[in-house]
């Protein structure tokens, strides 16, 4: 069955033809957008490709002339076979996990309470959490060493004590990222009603936090956690002063001083780990979509 014939408004068509070519302007805009994207990608990708290319230069060389013959994964093999690399990575991961746990236990109840009961204190708490941006790590670490190496808090001389101080420092460093992530998460839910609903049904504060607040902040907490992980893995100054080259940051720095190709390989590996962490945020965050729809209704 044929429908009615399309009506062509000749006058309008003429107007359209005379008017500035909106479609062409849009095309030009899209072209510029692509140019910007390509420049940005180039800016990020070229150093990575260069690092990769350099990391593959280790070995196969002509035994007589010493000339480069073909790329190899020798730098990576050496890195993975170096027990110090694995130790440093595992140590930093352990520190990061403890830091994340302490940060969550400290900041989620704080942000929750401030939003619910002490909204006037929010600017003050926000200011406190921004302190790591104001105080350089080197100042922080000297303060920590001075405080925790003398009586009555002389704990820095024991390995466990030094680790504890390091975690404390990392918790402070993660404040701006973790607090903001948690606070944004709390802003996205109807905190007061959910809390009061749980209270009216008999729940106490620990149960409300555990069963109602934490699960509804999953994506926000994961964002904060992975940012903290990234900070801890890459941190150099505080780690180096407190525990030497045990953590990954100082290890990487030391490697750079003594080897040619391995630092490039390690950089790419740590980059890969960071990307894997980001991917996990995406996957887990999307998995948390079930039941994560905002509370509807008016307030």
């Amino acid at each position: 069955m044929s429908g009615p014939a399309p009506v062509v408004d000749a006058a309008r068509l003429a107007d359209d033809l005379d008017a500035p070519p909106r479609g062409r302007r849009r095309e030009r805009g899209a072209l510029w957008a692509w140019v910007v994207v390509i420049i940005a990608i180039t800016y990020f990708i070229v150093p990575l490709i260069s690092t990769l290319e350099f990391s593959l230069r280790a070995a196969v060389k002509d035994p007589v002339t010493g000339e480069f013959i073909r790329p190899s994964l020798q730098a990576y093999t050496l890195v993975f076979n170096d027990p110090k690399f694995i130790d440093a990575l595992l140590y930093s991961f352990r520190m990061a996990l403890v830091t994340i746990a302490v940060s969550l236990l400290l900041l989620v109840p704080t942000a929750f309470w401030v939003r619910l009961k002490l909204p006037r204190l929010r600017p003050v708490v926000e200011l406190v959490t921004l302190m790591p941006f104001v105080i350089p790590p080197v100042i922080l670490v000297f303060g920590l060493i001075r405080t925790y190496s003398g009586q009555p808090f002389a704990i820095i001389s024991t390995p466990l004590g030094a680790d504890a101080v390091l975690v404390g420092a990392y918790v402070v460093l993660s404040f701006p990222y973790m607090y903001r992530a948690v606070d944004t998460g709390l802003a996205s839910i109807d905190l007061r009603s959910l809390t009061e609903a749980a209270q009216s049904m008999g729940a106490g504060w620990p149960r409300i936090l555990w069963s109602v607040i934490f699960p509804n902040l999953r994506s926000a907490l994961l964002s904060g956690a992975f940012l903290t992980l990234a900070i801890v893995i890459g941190e150099y100054t505080i780690a180096n002063f407190l525990v030497g080259t045990k953590p990954f940051g100082p290890y990487l720095s030391l490697l750079g001083q003594n080897k040619a190709y391995e630092p490039a390989a390690v950089s790419l590996i740590s980059f890969g780990i960071t990307w894997a962490a980001m991917l996990m945020i995406l996957i887990v965050g999307r998995g948390g979509g079930r039941g994560r729809a905002p509370v509807t209704g008016a307030r």
Binding site: I189, D190, S193, L194, E196, A197, A198, Q199, S200, M201, G202, A203, G204, R207, S211, V212, P215, N216, R218, R290, G291, R292, A293, P294, V295, T296, G297, A298, R299
Partner: protein, 371 residues
């Protein structure tokens, strides 16, 4: 005997007094609504019963137990919120089971109770769904089931229908009342919608500026409003200024015309008063009629389908007086500007007491004629 009792309740937020003095006894199984405009203190009073706010002074008792200072999680009071407040991370079944889990009931008992409540709210198939998969009306039914699941002593509803569209609001309103009657649970309902309060409640507390204006059955509140505020806020009464001519015989002058009042007048002769005139008692006079007569000119005629709303401006310019007549295809309504005489019995005219709140704070309800 009162099951829920509020005695001398007062709530201050710094300098601001949200609730002045609130005294109310609610019987077991009774449905009481707090009705009033925004900021009248109705939700604050409800939140004090729930325990989310502590009264500055006064005592709240449930079954003779003083709960004034008890934390909300120890009051055994169910609450339904305007925003539903379902836990987004939990399924419908887990939302309903939450209160039972807090009371450490057995898994079997929880399962049975959840199924029972899903039947009660006619959503047996929704157990495994998540709140975001349900419509607003469904979410509010689940919120109601969740508040009832742990068998609370009192059920509190804070404007539960405000976020829903008109059709759902009407059906859910009937459902709430049916469930409340079926369970016989003592209920306090907060609303700013007169129709909702009138249709649902055993008794209504009309509030304004933190004060109780009147407590009574829907019929009492509508037919015999105690104050000017109640008359203005509830229903569609016409409020007119008048002067007492002869208090003992119940005679007042309105728009220069002398009228008789059905109930005794307590104000002194010559005092300025406000009178309320029920619109359903008004008819256009034809021939000789008994009762009160008021003359004026038709200011507006609105066709509303089965009824026609007529507004009449009185002789001295006061009014308009609004009333409805049935639509009669064989008799045209009076034309705008036509002179008419309105007739109504003395019982339809009430002299109103001074409002508990200053008259400048009065809020007109929808559809009320301006005075």
């Amino acid at each position: 005997m009162a099951f829920l009792s509020l005695s001398g309740i007062r709530k201050e937020f710094g300098e601001h007094i949200a609730v002045h003095r609130f005294d109310l006894d609610v019987g077991e199984g009774e449905f009481v609504s707090f009705l009033g405009p925004s900021g009248c203190g109705k939700t604050t009073t409800l939140r004090m019963i729930a325990g989310f706010e502590l009264p500055t002074s006064g005592v709240i008792r449930i079954a003779d137990e003083d709960i004034s200072r008890k934390p909300p999680n120890q009051r055994n009071v169910g609450m339904v919120f305007q925003s539903y407040a379902l836990f987004p991370n939990m399924s419908v079944a887990n939302n309903i089971a939450f209160g039972l889990k807090m009371r450490k009931e057995s898994k079997g008992a929880i399962k049975t109770r959840v199924a029972e409540l899903l039947e009660l709210i006619h959503l047996p198939q929704a157990a495994d769904k998540y709140p975001y998969e349900l419509s607003g009306g469904m979410q509010q039914r689940v919120a109601l089931a969740r508040a009832l699941a742990f068998r609370p002593r009192v059920l509190l509803l804070d404007e539960p229908l405000s976020a829903l569209d008109a059709k759902i609001r009407l059906s859910l309103r009937q459902e709430i009342r049916a469930i409340q009657r079926q369970l016989g649970i003592t209920t306090v309902y907060v609303t700013h919608d007169q129709e909702e309060a009138l249709s649902l409640s055993d008794r209504i507390v009309v509030m304004s500026q933190g004060r109780m204006e009147q407590v009574g059955t829907p019929s009492e509140i509508y037919n015999t409003p105690a104050t000017e505020f109640v008359a203005r806020f509830v229903g569609t009464l016409n409020i007119l200024p008048g002067v007492v001519v002869d208090a003992p015989s119940g005679r007042v002058k309105v728009a220069g015309q002398e009228l008789r009042v059905g109930s005794p007048v307590t104000a002194m002769n010559g005092s300025q008063v406000h009178v309320a005139l029920r619109p359903e008692a008004i008819a256009i006079a034809s021939g000789d009629v008994d009762g009160n007569l008021l003359s004026g000119t038709v200011a507006d005629v609105t066709f509303l389908g089965s009824i026609v709303r007529i507004r009449v401006r009185l002789g001295d310019g006061s009014g308009p007086v609004a009333f409805d007549t049935f639509n009669n295809p064989h008799a045209a309504p009076p034309a705008i500007g036509a002179a008419v005489t309105l007739a109504f019995p003395p019982e339809a005219l009430l002299v109103l007491a001074e409002s508990a709140t200053p008259s400048h704070a009065l809020v007109d309800a929808d559809g009320l004629p301006a005075t």
